[in-house]
Symmetry: C2
DNA sequence: AAATTTACTTGCATTTTACAAGTGAAATGT
DNA sequence: ACATTTCACTTGTAAAATGCAAGTAAATTT
């Protein structure tokens, strides 16, 4: 039997303790390089999703076990944090940490790149990002600083 | 037996024909959201890697079959293109297309994010990116326009 | 002509993902 | 008070992706 020394017990799958290299891009890829993590962050940042159920509603249809796993990983990485909903003890509120909010420029550039080179939707968002990247980023940061990131 | 209608024959694994959604971020994630693609692009853009063997030399140690698969996928997506080396018929030269070069801002933001929030190396590159993001991007673009992206 | 280099492919074990169904705690309806 | 619903998951299992070692064919070098 062989064990993978890059992983530890009691951690979600794929949560590495040792890095493959010290390159900062590699660090980002190890934390975010999969088919779901960045979409969860998008849902929090741009769509105001805060609960497990809200994440499940998004159009790409993530499986429930994968969602639970990714939320745990992102929390372990310090990208998001949780708290119980004081008004409903069943609900967990997920919110971005400062580290998570700092991903806004990464998401912006990925959106703009795809919009430039692929046929994609949500042209309103894309135009907003193109026209004044800095203003949008400031808005996102401020919305989170003020706690106005709750769902409508 | 069940078949997955999101995939087609004769395409590298994971190369989807239908998208999970029209969101531009999702498009980026479907093309680049794995543990290797962005590292290959980094090697081309920042380290000047051009051949299969040069990619294999990078510190994260990609497996040969995965590398072949990722190169095929990135070519299918139009992110890179190949040509035979005129002076050595065994060698294939991989180079970024304009679409691939346009990923420079994505890589930059991912590097800066990790450098800000994780302990990583290559502080020289990070400082260069911090100090003058636009100048570095202009340099990368120009280096590729001039064909000076060959290995040293 | 033999050895080496390059760019892969193949086979197989391990790990991850996807899908469907189920569970327990808290809240709501009657 | 008790049944029903909601919420946030977990579990089981099939399918797909990844990782590792070994092998191969064509071009080049010796």
């Amino acid at each position: 039997m062989q064990v993978n020394l890059f992983y530890s017990i009691n951690m979600p799958k794929g949560t590495r303790t040792r890095r493959r290299s010290g390159c900062p891009l590699n660090a980002s890829v190890e934390m975010l390089g999969d088919r779901w993590s960045l979409l969860i962050i998008r849902d929090m940042m741009l769509r105001g999703s805060r609960t497990y159920k809200e994440f499940l509603n998004s159009h790409e249809r993530i499986a429930t076990n994968i969602l639970a796993d990714r939320l745990r990983r992102l929390e372990n990485y310090g990208i998001l944090a949780t708290e119980r909903d004081p008004s409903d003890g069943r609900k967990l509120i997920y919110r971005l940490t400062p580290k998570g909010i700092d991903l806004a420029p990464v998401l912006t550039e990925m959106v703009l790149w795809a919009a430039r080179h692929e046929e994609t939707g949500n042209q309103a968002l894309v135009r907003e990002m193109q026209n004044d990247k800095e203003r949008l980023l400031a808005t996102i940061r401020q919305r989170w600083a003020e706690g106005r990131h709750q769902s409508p």
